[in-house]
């Protein structure tokens, strides 16, 4: 039977694992087998000896059958002896160390303390309660900038609303993300991003606050729904709700920003076809750091829902713009928001962690921006006026402005982007993608 295989040691632990029986049963089987066939001497038997030594120590060893008598002399008392393994030949007993491990399941001792921690416990365990404390601090810092940005932001569009919804989802997930992000460095990076956002908002500044506010109310409801859905990971219901809300908001927005909306619409339609591709791209591109950064942003935004929404909307806008560039040719207005949401939802299942929020963040995120196949953006130096701590500050800022997609010079804008990203990269190397995307977004708007 098994022994016929050359070079295979049949140890009791292997046998118990293979036959899924208790180790003691496996020992018994081996022993009986050996008793039955040992006259034929076809194989070698190795015993395990366990006993007390003369100097009060204990010893566990395995010995070949022929060495048993000499081995036993070492012991003052032998407390156990059983067949360890049977094999055709065994030049060295040490070789048994290489034998396959047994399965602890079939051992003679059970440990009832070996409960597994669930994901939430693991999170706390890995990152500690400190992660929650870290959350609150950055939020406060950010708030001022966020609120400013909110006041100044452009009510660019339905897209923004969609983004806001996504951000809400992010918020829930955000706790988790934050915990993972745990590093304080991330917080700093978040702050930086927030600044960028505010600057972007300022530029956009001109626009339709009223429409945005209306949208906010709708968004909130949508957000909460969305979040809950995300938790449950029921993708379908969430999608439907989001779509409905998003479409409404989109319509309103369109009135305000017709041009932007159209672009977004175009983008969306293309996305529908390209969703799958985007998803895969997103997965590859999006790093956990990106998520975390986004999360931190959302944290900052938490205190003021409006400001948060606005930020989110900005992020989404960026994503949309990128998409637009990709999808420029197609025109479809209402379908856009649903597509975005779909993407976010699709991302959700991908995430290994239980929290859907991560996924949503991903979908919103900068990686899409990077994904830009056909985007063309030009880096320009622009004077922007920011509200900082109640003061208006004018700064020269590098901004990417989107060019018509048709433009032949794709490579140049990319280079410029890289430069910008490098400057940001001091804080975080990975941020580059996000920052560039944000900038791009703003300029376009």
């Amino acid at each position: 039977m098994i022994f016929s295989k050359q070079g295979l040691e049949v140890t009791y632990k292997w046998l118990s694992k293979e036959l899924e029986v208790h180790v003691n049963v496996a020992k018994q089987i081996l022993s009986e087998f050996w008793q039955k066939y040992k006259e034929k001497k076809q194989f070698e038997c190795v015993f395990l000896l366990m006993g007390h030594l003369h100097d009060n120590g204990m010893r566990v060893e395995i010995v070949k059958e022929k060495d048993l008598s000499t081995a036993k002399e070492k012991y003052s008392k032998i407390i156990a002896k059983h067949v360890y393994s049977l094999q055709k030949t065994l030049p060295e007993t040490q070789l048994l160390g290489l034998a396959e491990d047994g399965d602890v399941k079939f051992s003679g001792i059970k440990c009832i303390e070996n409960n597994e921690r669930n994901d939430e416990e693991m999170h706390m365990f890995r990152w500690g309660a400190v992660s929650r404390e870290i959350e609150s601090a950055p939020q406060e810092k950010v708030q001022s900038s966020v609120s400013e940005a909110a006041s100044e932001r452009k009510a660019t569009s339905p897209e923004e609303k969609q983004v806001a919804k996504k951000k809400n989802a992010d918020r829930k997930g955000f706790d988790n993300l934050f915990g993972k992000a745990g590093n304080k460095q991330k917080n700093s990076s978040n702050a930086d991003k927030v600044e960028v956002d505010s600057s972007n908002h300022n530029k956009k500044g001109t626009s339709k606050n009223g429409s945005a506010e209306k949208k906010k109310s709708t968004q909130k409801g949508g957000l909460s729904n969305f979040l809950e859905l995300g938790k449950n990971q029921t993708k379908t219901s969430a999608n439907s709700l989001n779509k409905g809300k998003s479409t409404n908001s989109l319509d309103k927005d369109k009135c305000a920003n017709s041009s932007v909306a159209e672009k977004g619409a175009n983008f969306l339609t293309k996305e529908a076809t390209e969703e799958k591709v985007l998803k895969t791209d997103l997965k590859q591109i999006q790093n956990m750091k990106d998520f975390e950064e986004k999360i931190s942003k959302t944290d900052k935004q938490k205190q003021k829902a409006r400001s948060r929404k606005r930020n989110r909307s900005k992020e989404t806008n960026n994503a949309v713009k990128k998409r637009k560039r990709i999808a420029i040719q197609s025109d479809s207005s209402n379908s856009e928001p649903s597509d975005n949401e779909n993407e976010s939802e699709l991302d959700l299942p991908l995430s290994p962690e239980s929290c859907p929020a991560f996924l949503k963040k991903r979908s919103v995120s900068p990686p899409q921006v990077k994904h830009e196949n056909g985007k063309r953006k030009v880096l320009k130096i622009v004077d922007k006026t920011f509200e900082e701590d109640g003061f208006l500050v004018t700064k020269k800022v590098h901004v990417y402005e989107s060019c018509s997609e048709e433009e032949p010079e794709i490579t140049e804008p990319k280079n410029e982007k890289k430069i910008v990203s490098e400057s940001h990269s001091e804080v975080k190397g990975k941020k580059n993608t996000k920052q560039t995307t944000l900038i791009n977004f703003f300029k376009k708007s």
Binding site: S16, H22, G57, M58, E61, I62, I78, G108, E113
Partner: protein
């Protein structure tokens, strides 16, 4: 003769074949990790290390003064600054020992060797002919002389009281010593638990050739090997403590496993190994000198992300080095070996076993006196965390060359089990401690 022993053994042999195989439940024990202070205490890298010495002296002086007063009655305790006024009268000074050693680690010498300004030489210890003993308090230091001064026994960082008088040449003639002594016991209650601990150290799993000893150890601990009696008996083993160097055991293997990829492989294997153990027995894992943790004492626990599988299990506890814990009411203090290894280097004495130094450090009331002088520690500045505040019941050091143990009895009824836990990869030996009566025995897993 041979036949006779055969029969004996057969009596002991597993008879479970026709019955339903029994499995036993491992006993549970109350477990508390008291080493949180090592993680939570703040340290500041912009601070000087002298704060540690002053904190140590302040705290241990409080412990010394009553002992000094009972040992040498009516002799004044003075500060070094006030020695002059006494005009060579007999007195007691309390301070920190300092041994001036030419060959102790020095960043300046490393630098000059790097620039080839001086010849580099690697020595097994820090000693030279020119070593000089001093005693220093917060302000001054004074050279110690006399027949009572054995330069080999002087360990930098130990706080002690010295009886003697100042010589005219500004040195201090030592007549007697007094050390803080073992810390008082928290309570002297009776222990009745049958439970046992197993200690191992230096598993060195980067040594890829998985040894037979290691698998026998796992089989024994997890209740696979042996007969029913042994399996039942082993359920009393409530916890395995792994005292350092689980991943690697020396620097030489570091060069070969230094690539991060290889180290990653090893750690994956360690994770698997530990998670296997932890499903069957509670495990406490301390980092060691060569493990992927910080080099400064106290070494932080392995991060949960480093050992994802093991960390999932509640029976697996990753902890600090040195470690202070309480199991079934027994206070346990242990280190992975750096503290004692460094003391050996400071003394240059090879005849004194680690166990003796362990006992002495109990009397010094300090786990690692040579830090921060020659042993890296975090720059705590408010408190010296390595002072033993309570008397342990079990005090062990890991990664020694051989197993040794001693039941130490103090003059205040303290009973301490001292253990030097040998490296597993060379000795294939683990240590079993009975929590009831502190009986200790070794168990070896080789077939040499």
């Amino acid at each position: 003769m041979v036949h006779k022993t055969e029969e004996e053994c057969d009596d002991l042999f597993v008879k479970s074949g026709k019955e339903k195989p029994e499995t036993f439940e491992r006993k549970q024990a109350e477990y508390r990790d008291l080493s949180k202070k090592f993680i939570n205490t703040k340290s500041d890298y912009s601070k000087q290390f002298s704060h540690i010495y002053s904190a140590r002296l302040t705290e241990l002086r409080e412990a010394l003064i009553p002992r000094v007063k009972t040992k040498w009655e009516n002799i004044p305790i003075v500060k070094l600054a006030d020695l002059e006024k006494l005009e060579n009268q007999q007195c007691i000074i309390i301070g920190t020992l300092y041994k001036h050693q030419q060959w102790k680690p020095s960043i300046l010498r490393e630098l000059s060797e790097e620039h080839q300004l001086s010849a580099s030489c690697s020595k097994p210890n820090y000693c030279s002919e020119k070593d000089q003993p001093f005693l220093e308090d917060e302000m001054l230091r004074i050279k110690l002389v006399g027949e009572q001064v054995d330069i080999k026994q002087i360990i930098t960082g130990v706080v002690c009281a010295v009886l003697g008088n100042e010589n005219s040449d500004g040195t201090f003639l030592v007549k007697d010593w007094c050390f803080p002594g073992c810390a008082p016991k928290e309570s002297l209650k009776e222990y009745t638990s049958q439970n046992r601990l197993v200690l191992v150290s230096g598993l060195n799993l980067s040594n890829k050739s998985e040894s037979l000893g290691m698998s026998l150890f796992v089989e024994w601990l997890c209740g696979m090997a042996g007969n029913i009696t042994i399996q039942k008996d082993n359920t009393f083993i409530v916890r395995l403590i792994i005292a350092g160097n689980t991943v690697k055991n020396n620097d030489t293997s570091q060069t070969s496993t230094n690539t991060s990829k290889e180290l990653g492989e090893v750690i994956k294997f360690v994770d698997l190994f530990l998670s296997n153990l932890a499903t069957c027995c509670s495990v406490t894992l301390m980092p060691g000198k060569h493990d992927p943790s910080n080099a400064m004492l106290p070494q932080r626990p392995f991060h949960p992300c480093l050992l994802p599988k093991s960390s999932r299990l509640e029976s697996f506890k990753s902890t600090t080095n040195p470690w202070v814990g309480k199991i079934e009411g027994r206070v346990i203090i242990g280190s992975s070996g750096q503290s004692i290894q460094d003391i050996v280097k400071v003394t240059g004495e090879t005849d004194i076993s680690p166990l003796e130094w362990l006992e002495k450090s109990l009397l010094w009331r300090h786990i690692c006196p040579t830090a921060p002088d020659t042993l890296l520690v975090c720059p705590y500045y408010e408190k010296d965390l390595f002072i033993m505040e309570t008397c342990p019941d079990i005090y062990f050091v890991g990664n020694t060359d051989k197993f040794e143990t001693k039941l130490w009895k103090g003059d205040e009824n303290q009973i301490v089990r001292l253990i030097s836990v040998p490296r597993f990869d060379t000795t294939q030996t683990a240590v079993i401690v009975n929590l009831d009566n502190l009986d200790t025995q070794y168990i070896s897993f080789s077939n040499i």
